[in-house]
Symmetry: D3
Subunit: 157 residues, 6 copies
């Protein structure tokens, strides 16, 4: 965002980071909680290895949500994990504008993400499409990605 | 907290997160610093593995404290560790209401934490009590926890 | 900072924490990005191992910058990494006052960092100087550091 | 295994540990490779965060396989990841004897793993069954596990 | 060990590495298990963060024991943790010869470890003694270690 | 290696894994030790975050060397780090055959690694060359890699 747009930015592009340190959850539980949080609408969810008091090997569970879902996710964390407390802070979020195109290649159809931000542009091939193609053809990720990007460039897509 | 209490919440339930990246402390020191921070009144203290500049395998030391103890813990970190700088942020904290009951079972006395938050309820057996019982009886954590929870439920405690 | 100076502090001693979770960058890329961020003026740059959605072993890339460089580093991260979004937060920063002295010892010249904060004082020997000396003499870090600190103390420097 | 069976053990209960350090694979790739390795018959597959040369934040990919599949997995790793070398070691493996029972409870049917080793016995409820039940009923993992274990014990199953 | 002694070495200086990947233990349990393993005679015990199948944030528990205690520790791990399998490998161990001296300094008595290996010598101050002194005097670890090492050197101990 | 070559393999393609757990080294030291180990001829060197006894956040330092350098690296670790013990095991190593070609492209000269193993072939562009080109042109890693691989393929190199 340009500096002149900063103020608008500061009120519009907010995301809530929620964190809780868990030394009483198992890895089995944590992976399910991460999956459920995403199904429930979290923008992102992940775990970080930490070392807690009394030398406990533990994980910090982190969620990114919109502010409107604060209550939903506090209740989610308290009911889906052994957490009895959590902390949160609002953060400013900057994202590239994205537009997805479906492009036909000799390997099949691929989603291409067109990304732009203040004059800066880049593209990426949808990872799930590469994986499916790799599964079907037995070719490696790199090989497929390269071929798809080449075709797109040649086509001037 | 209900949405109507949000404003009160925002001023009352605050916690200060302090962080410092350490590539010049040993693990021996870090574990002592974590223990001392808790004795000094930190609400939580932990370390996270990180990779710092020049490829240095390091740890980020994190403390949660009340705002009133900011000066205490800045001085503590500067005198107890090689840190020469740290950063901090006030965060909103959400905790379940807790009430501890002492319950007599056939395994002995156990502390039971009764937790509640906006209509949501859960219980947990004090971990230190399970450990002591496990140490004394040679039975596993899981076995003891299960038996204690069963007895409590049957008693309708 | 004393409580009476808190207000000044809060406006002056700010640092911006930028974070982005990367499951599509390689370790080769991340180490270069960290080096470049520092060359570009970041106050600190590091990576933290995390576990992202779909069980992806990943890294969170973190930068500390001054607020004035926000635009610079958003663009840097979007052009130098596959990131398509990032989040940031202004944090309060507390640092020890530092003064570097060059001291002549029997091992050669060493930079000594004199650090102070509200009456608290400590010193540290510049790590790069210890490393160079260790490389030249074949002596261990600890041995050199000890000898240098001894000489300085005896000299009353 | 009893000491008298040690020799037999040493030839029978072997597992091959394969490891490769990857600073040129992304997290997206690693999670797919772990999934594929398991589909291909690996007994286990996981990743460990490591810090490689030149300060590269990386992951060590590890597989446990039977010796007969050595060639299969060397080729798998060389074709599915950017690895250009790997190392391996035969290890002795000790496992508890396991027997799975299907038990009907008021929560539905659950797989119960009965485990034994030299006089030592323990049971565990199949995690996937708990998860499915949790998904269906909205109850927490712990609550379901506890209830199922209680019913089983009361039934003397 | 000199090459001529290699053969002796290979039979004498062995240690057994035991490993098990745990996605169903909590951090609370793991820290207790590590403590108990050491009380039971393990030479070392630690945990490593790993990412297991199905995206589970987990820990690998590792023990170093003498070969004679293999059976003891297999049973310990099967009864004290949810592990249902583990793997192990005999490794060659190289250690410095160590001799502990009690040295009187102006800070009190300190244990000094004198270490030697094939002509190479080094010393270290017992960490527990430094910690106790630091606790009593309020001085930092580094300050105490430095002072003690200086006194020892001056005394020609 | 083909199965018929296994025996030869087992005696020829060996590598020695050395490990030591360090709770008394700093990250500054560890990064230097890793660099020096590589300069001294180690085939690889890295660090893994671990949690040691007494809740110490620590790192395991790992080296891969040829068996002939065992003595060299034991002495190196004992003199360059605070380690007072280490463990090692010989592992079988499988590597792809590699041949480096210098290829002229419109972006300049690039090293191309041609890799093969039992009928399996792959190529990779030397990372250092990509980095240098990226530094000079300001283009991203991905963009350069893609362009170089395209030119090579078109040339039928
Ligand atoms: Ni903005
Ligand atoms: Ni903009
Ligand atoms: Ni609230
Ligand atoms: Ni301040
Ligand atoms: Ni001040
Ligand atoms: Ni972290
Ligand atoms: Ni056995
Ligand atoms: Ni030896
Ligand atoms: Ni020797
Ligand atoms: Ni590891
Ligand atoms: Ni081979
Ligand atoms: Ni072959």
């Amino acid at each position: 965002s340009k500096l002149s747009q900063q103020q608008v930015d500061e009120t519009n592009d907010r995301v809530l980071l929620m964190e809780t340190n868990l030394d009483d959850a198992t890895g089995q539980q944590l992976s399910i909680t991460i999956k459920r949080a995403l199904e429930l609408g979290a923008k992102d969810a992940w775990a970080e290895p930490i070392i807690m008091k009394k030398g406990r090997p533990a994980y910090k569970l982190c969620l990114l949500t919109v502010a409107e879902q604060q209550e939903t996710f506090v209740k989610f964390l308290f009911s889906d994990t052994p957490a009895i407390g959590l902390r949160m802070k609002s953060m400013h979020r900057e994202i590239m504008e994205r537009r997805i195109e479906q492009v036909q290649t000799s390997y099949g159809k691929f989603g291409i993400k067109r990304l732009s931000y203040c004059g800066l542009n880049k593209s990426s091939v949808e990872y799930d499409d590469i994986e499916k193609c790799s599964q079907k053809t037995g070719k490696s990720f790199e090989e497929i990605k390269l071929a798809v990007l080449q075709e797109i460039e040649n086509k001037g897509v």
